[in-house]
């Protein structure tokens, strides 16, 4: 097996007492000594600092003499999102689709003047780069950013904390992206977006690898900021109803099945100015109108036993083969109960529908529920 990659904050994690685990080819902190539950609650109460430097960062630039229009037009051939409609300094959630309408990866893309800044999942970065090179590599320049770190600062105190390093962040709203100078060690240039993966208000901070530890230490020195590992990152995003690539979405799930149609803007839908024209458009556009045969839903197991990924689902009282599966599940520290999500047939997708999930050979009650389990608190 190839040696695990280390982020620029590796030594800091070890110093802080993190338990390091392999994740998508990287050695990452799964938790610190305070534990997943305390880290999760701290993030929702104050502010949590996450090292997400394993994620792929890339820029997509126009050809010589070209501009944003070329970049946007190229991206619209691989994503069902409206890219041309994105204003400068704004970011959007999107996904690369395949010819069957499945999801190759989900990502964030931001407009930075004439080019796009894109953040993709660590485990899919190589796949994405190969896919982009093959599909739009002749029209635009795709450049993976080496030597960069990515931090996420999440929670209700994130703004107050980051504003000490750059007061300008207080003026940003959800999905704004700006280049700022962080007032640490003589000034660190950073690309900051007001976004995250916890359902809380917060920021994602792309910065030079060599400055990452200094900035992380400056933030961790603040009373309200604590380091948070991948364990709490997972329980936070699950409570927020956000998909984890590889669990809840993959190349076999369409955006409509995954309940992500909110991320497909009108201009790309039937009747829109730029309808279709992305891989799998036929399948996805038809499902946008007629619905999909199965649907990702929230699930609340009764009692205290968590239902985890892979748990089979069937209608209440029905014998016979399972009709659905849990794709993410665990205990929600803020919800104070087990929470899960998974796929069920469209006829069983209404909130309140009673199902059963098999845990250790026993079928136990679980009900379909609205997502998210904990309300989003974005600064819109």
């Amino acid at each position: 097996m190839a040696e695990l990659r280390k982020t620029p904050l590796h030594d800091l994690h070890v110093e802080l007492g993190a338990r390091m685990v392999p994740f998508a080819g990287w050695e990452m902190p799964v938790q610190y000594p305070s534990g997943v539950m305390a880290e999760h609650r701290h993030t929702r109460a104050k502010a949590g600092l996450f090292d997400v430097s394993h994620m792929g960062q890339l820029t997509i630039r126009p050809p010589a003499g070209g501009g944003w229009e070329e970049v946007a037009a190229a991206l619209e051939t691989v994503l069902p999102q409206s890219v041309l409609g994105l204003k400068d300094g704004r970011q959007r959630y999107g996904f690369l689709t395949n010819d069957q309408g499945g999801i190759i990866d989900d990502l964030m893309f931001a407009r930075r003047g004439d080019h796009a800044f894109v953040v993709v999942n660590a485990a899919r970065c190589d796949v994405d780069l190969a896919h982009l090179a093959r599909t739009i590599g002749a029209k635009v320049t795709i450049e993976p950013l080496r030597g960069r770190a990515l931090l996420a600062l999440q929670g209700p105190s994130a703004e107050a904390a980051l504003a000490r390093l750059s007061p300008e962040v207080a003026g940003m709203r959800f999905m704004d992206v700006r280049t700022l100078t962080l007032d640490v060690a003589g000034g660190v240039p950073a690309l900051v977006s007001r976004s995250g993966y916890t359902g809380e208000d917060g920021f994602e901070i792309s910065l030079p690898a060599e400055s990452a530890e200094t900035v992380a230490r400056a933030l961790l020195d603040m009373e309200e900021v604590a380091p948070i590992g991948l364990g709490a990152r997972d329980s936070l995003r699950l409570e927020a109803g956000l998909c984890l690539y590889g669990n809840d979405i993959d190349e076999t799930t369409t955006p409509v099945e995954a309940a992500l149609e909110w991320a497909i803007q009108k201009p790309r839908r039937r009747g829109g100015d730029r309808a279709g024209g992305f891989p799998g458009a036929e399948v996805i556009l038809a499902q946008l109108e007629a619905g999909a045969p199965r649907r990702r839903v929230g699930l609340l197991p009764e009692g205290r036993a968590p239902m985890r990924q892979g748990t089979p689902l069937r209608p209440e009282g029905a014998e016979g083969a399972p009709v659905g599966t849990i794709t993410s599940g665990g205990f929600g520290p803020t919800a104070e109960r087990p929470v899960a999500m998974g796929y069920v047939p469209a006829a069983l997708a209404a909130a309140g529908t009673r199902l059963e999930g098999e845990v250790r050979g026993k079928w136990r009650p679980v009900a379909v529920a609205d997502l998210p389990f904990v309300p989003h608190r974005y600064r819109r």
């Binding site: 799964v30 534990g35 997943v36 539950m37 305390a38 205290r304 985890r308 205990f331």
Partner: protein, 124 residues
């Protein structure tokens, strides 16, 4: 007099001459992470060594506690049904799982004493 023994699966066994109380060690509790659910056996059930008698769910994963020997479950710690976090907070005290009457108390001899267990953790 109490006899305390340890299994390779990081359970502690405390024998008071009548029943064996079973819990997990601090090392195991730390490895497991925050416990959110404990499924306990029924009282008065006969168990065979190696039976899965307790399921512990932590924020990260599920783990089983196996019967350390043949015997009968005499008591379970029903406190854990409402406060599973006691396993994380007080594994050697209030976080115990069950008590059992061993069919043959000599079965305890196969397990480690404290010094052996410490060496076992250090070597693992």
């Amino acid at each position: 007099m109490l006899i305390v023994k340890y299994t390779p699966e990081h359970e502690w066994l405390e024998y008071n001459g009548e029943v064996v109380t079973v819990g997990i060690t601090e090392h195991a509790a730390e490895q497991l992470g925050d416990v959110v659910f404990v499924e306990l056996p029924e009282e008065d059930t006969s168990v065979t060594k190696g039976d899965e008698v307790v399921v512990i769910e932590s924020v990260k994963a599920a783990a089983d506690i196996l019967a350390p020997m043949d015997g009968v479950i005499t008591e379970v710690n029903s406190l854990l049904e409402d406060e599973p976090e006691l396993v994380s907070k007080d594994p050697l005290g209030q976080g115990w799982f069950f008590r059992m009457k061993p069919a043959d108390p000599a079965d305890l001899d196969q397990y480690m004493d404290e010094a052996e267990y410490k060496a076992h953790i250090a070597g693992s």
